[in-house]
Symmetry: D2
Subunit: 266 residues, 4 copies
């Protein structure tokens, strides 16, 4: 299972509170969580990373907000299950991929960042991800999961086609809105253009609507506080064949959680 960008305290509480029961209900073997907005909407701290891993995440991915919290820079080399985009230049702290042993075999998780309308400019993710996957497959890793953190639908869908038959799942993140286009491409790669976020329902991407509307109306700066109220958990559940690495099924996860009461259903 993959969960999209966790936003602020409401997103963290909902994710940490639900992971155990979701794992049971959905019979999950392996959980990946994107945590790039987990610290008040901006970045992630070492403590929050530990909390997410303890709650059941096997890997925590990030994105363009990866460096927003300063103490994460030194933490990266100590925690291989925390990923930053793989297409930073050589020498950057942290790693963009990790291979973990599971009961069903090795699983690789990769994170990359797009280059259309997203900052900073990084190296070509198509070239770097295909190279990395070629090496992983040579080493016998079959189950390969990519979190492609990118703005445009074209770049994310193109990545899915570029990796069809090479990766098990290609899921987009960053727009914080789940898309309704889950599918398995002809060669067996499961794709979803954007997983959506785990954050407050009454919001603009997790932030208070008033503040964001005011910004668009006036062009003047303001703070964008994390919104309150019920949280929507968005992500996907994929079934991967351990022998071939092909995706057998892919479903969107999309649930509204009342933090006081638990799940309200979708």
């Amino acid at each position: 299972m993959f969960l999209g960008d966790v936003v602020g305290e409401p997103g963290r509480k909902a994710v940490i509170g639900q992971l155990a029961s979701l794992r049971k209900e959905l019979e999950l073997d392996f959980i990946i969580v994107n945590g790039e907005n987990a610290a008040g909407g901006r970045g992630i701290t070492p403590k929050i990373t530990i909390d997410l891993l303890r709650a059941g995440a096997a890997v925590v991915t990030t994105g363009d907000h990866v460096w927003d919290q300063q103490d994460i820079v030194d933490y990266f080399p100590t925690e291989p299950r925390l990923l930053r985009p793989i297409n930073y230049p050589e020498g950057t702290p942290g790693a963009g991929w990790v291979v973990l042993e599971t009961a069903k075999g090795k699983i690789a998780v990769i994170q990359a960042q797009g280059r259309s309308f997203i900052q900073p400019p990084l190296e070509n993710p198509f070239v770097i991800v295909e190279d990395r996957i070629a090496k992983l497959r040579e080493e016998g890793v079959k189950m390969i999961f990519l979190d492609f953190h990118a703005e445009t639908t074209s770049e994310k869908i193109a990545m899915g086609w570029a990796l069809d038959g090479k990766a098990s799942v290609v899921v987009g993140t960053h727009t914080h809105v789940q898309t309704a286009d889950e599918r398995i491409l002809p060669e067996g790669t499961g794709c979803l253009t954007d997983a959506g976020m785990c954050g407050p329902e009454h919001s603009v991407l997790g932030r208070s609507p008033e503040s964001v509307v005011w910004r668009f109306r006036t062009g003047m700066p303001t703070r964008f506080p994390v919104a309150k109220g019920p949280v929507r958990l968005c992500g996907l559940v994929a079934d991967i064949d351990p022998e071939s690495g092909k995706c057998l099924s892919i479903e969107r996860l999309n649930r509204l959680i009342d933090l006081n009461e638990g799940s309200e259903g979708a």
Copy 2:
């Protein structure tokens, strides 16, 4: 009902072929179609506009590709049911809104274009759309539909919140991928961040996957032919209360059509 960006000949054929049966099946009173990519993926011609209107569309909206076909410029003043974004400067050919009489009362359709990561730069859509809606409501128009053609999820969702209780439906277009976040905001405005497109399923936004992947891998220019094969029709169906203008229900429409055989279901 609203149908998202119709892409090229496959998209046109599917939409024109299905409109009559969809109208019957879904008991549609009023159909709006976005046609900005209907002419080979780039713009729309007078002839295609006429074809879409004859097939049952009450209004045809466009977007950033509105001027791609040169002969549309002079056609605009002759056809008020064809819209371009309302936030072009005064004096621009065509109009950005239209009011039509229906059996259930007046319906206004407005089109606006966003300003984040989309060209050309236009006037502030929040200011202009709110002004236009205020005037429409003074004149007694209750049912108001906005096609907001914009790239980012933040700008599109913020527009929904800005118009909550003022417009009946705010639907985004432009990314060509349907989002899974249909909802009715607290004051009664139905929202969907992006309607998706009506175009070839095996594609990147309607274009051949090979060409788009090649572009991202190499950085070199190439043509992006419209893809072939089955077409996915994406859009939404909303039920609006004629008295209050509030949205009573909003559902995504998402169907795969085999052009040789008719609908394959969703």
Copy 3:
């Protein structure tokens, strides 16, 4: 005379220290200073505005950094000689133009912001500035000066041509590098694509070179401290005919100032 973006304490010290002697040496009647980076490189405060006006500036312009210092928002309505871009929506604090009486007649100063590669998106500056100038000329104002704060050379040069014969001087700001293309267009408008900045010579746009180079090399965030050492004062000196409003001569000003010793010459 116009002086480009004053950057931080070094820029302020140099400008304030030199204005009186420059006025004498160059026989200046009217001095305009861009102060958008005067407060530590980010924005301007009420106190700094007052300091610049006291030192001899008749008008202080700003730009995209106008709101960086929070207390400037409430100060704007109290000081008509401080300008923000004219193409913000109606209702924005402050004004984008001012008319001042001088011994040689009325002078209007206008500030506008471009829309190519600069944030936030504002209203069309070509439309708004031409409208404003038409009204000023109806009211008999002949001497009209525009500070066009924009990124691209195309937008800035196009503004010069759009206003040829309507404005006396069109000078660009924002890139912090002076261009070498001063000229008088056929109908009498003096143009310079960018005035350059008043800031530290050993710098990248006024900031420490090490920090900016590190940012480009690594893609990782860092602080960009204002650089130290000698300051280059950049701007222009124009001679305007009070009768016709035409520009009679335009020259670049470009001087290196050792803050300990005074001017080192150009």
Copy 4:
């Protein structure tokens, strides 16, 4: 000597007509010309490349418009003196650098493209250029010239500082407007933020002013014909010490040429 972007037929005629006399007058040993806009403003053809080389250019550089003319793709591998940006992915036709023997020793010319506000996104030019220069210096090449084709002043000036003491000259291109900031950095690298273009004086970056102004005013598409009339030749003349590779002097070249009459002086 370096000449900035040659625009269209007027630019070509002026450059080809003047190169021989400029070489004599300025005692030039080595001439580099940027030809990315030489073919009607868009790209360069094999024939134009040959014309520029025959007229006296030792190397022809390009930029973001490199692939605009289709037949240049296959020509690249046949002509090592024609460069495209070095930071395209491996496997791209053509090369981004060349070393030529001269009477005074080996000269390397490198071209790179920036990543701020310029398309397509390419690999990190700071990393790639520094690597290439390190190798060139290991091989004993001292005189190294970089044409850095980039939009923003910050990226171009930062490149100068990054290469101070490593390259002989770093000159920017792409904005088509010459900057007035030529200087030699502390470790001996000569820099100019933008060389400017060789194109029609009465123009916006070489194009007809009416067309560009119309585009900014209306937001509607139009053609941008190459302008007519006298041509301004912009570039720089640098004196490099063959022993150390350090820049001894750097001067802007900026001359208005009447195509019917020859040079009118600066």
